[in-house]
Symmetry: C2
Subunit: 139 residues, 2 copies
Amino acid sequence: MPTPSMEDYIEIIYNLIETKGYARVSDIAETLEVHPSSVTKMVQKLDKGEYLLYEKYRGFILTEKGKKVGEKLVFRHELLEDFLAIIGVDKENIYNDVEGIEHHLSWNSIDRLVDLVKYFKEDEQRIEDLRKVQKENEK
Amino acid sequence: MPTPSMEDYIEIIYNLIETKGYARVSDIAETLEVHPSSVTKMVQKLDKGEYLLYEKYRGFILTEKGKKVGEKLVFRHELLEDFLAIIGVDKENIYNDVEGIEHHLSWNSIDRLVDLVKYFKEDEQRIEDLRKVQKENEK
DNA sequence: AATAATTTTTATCATAGGCAAAATTGTTTC
DNA sequence: GAAACAATTTTGCCTATGATAAAAATTATT
């Protein structure tokens, strides 16, 4: 089992490779707002855990295991962003909140959130009803 | 701002005092499944943060600040348990998941979850509709 | 008073990150 | 193409949190 921090890195590496085709230490450092040396250390740890193959100074690629995990993590992240947006959380809080909770939910909870998001998406009226409740609560 | 770990302790101390009238090192250690020495250290830290008044070997009581925080934390914890139960997460996962995420949600998200829980509680039909979506998803 | 239970201290560990210096790679410039 | 410089990456050491283990101190009980 990867630690929360390891998950963060795997997720970002997966995303970078998807969008840019490659992931480098400096990109990851910038995205996570940590120092490059911290990234190197984690990459070495992920190599030990066989999430990626690492070659000093040359770079790294995700293993099958790493890709599989990365895909799940990205799916989960997007689901949670969807969910918070639907219930009306402000944009500026969404990323941080997801960042905070994504590593701490069982897959059972994730499955139920999938259902919940579907529940709202499949009938616009439900979201409107929710907004009504929210308006009521404000008073 | 208390750290997540500090919040855990404050919350449990608040609960213990509410239900038993007092909180002792050994109780807390047992509830949190950590060693008594860890509890002592954290209690000292909470004393420094003025969440409680601590007297070596004698015990401790929450300050006004500690009580205020504790109350909010307990409210948040119960809200999250409610929420996960409503969306159908299995009982055996609820406590751990709440434990994991409660320290990482903005109060903005908490407010929106209050609305959401109210949305479901105020009309039983909505929960039934959600269950229908869940039945559909299973297939 | 002796023993038991609880609490505290001290020392140590693991994770994760910061910072500075060294190593390597990449890019100019001649 | 080689030397000089720049950028990137890595290493080594330090810090902070939060936990454990064992031993010491205190309180409680018999």
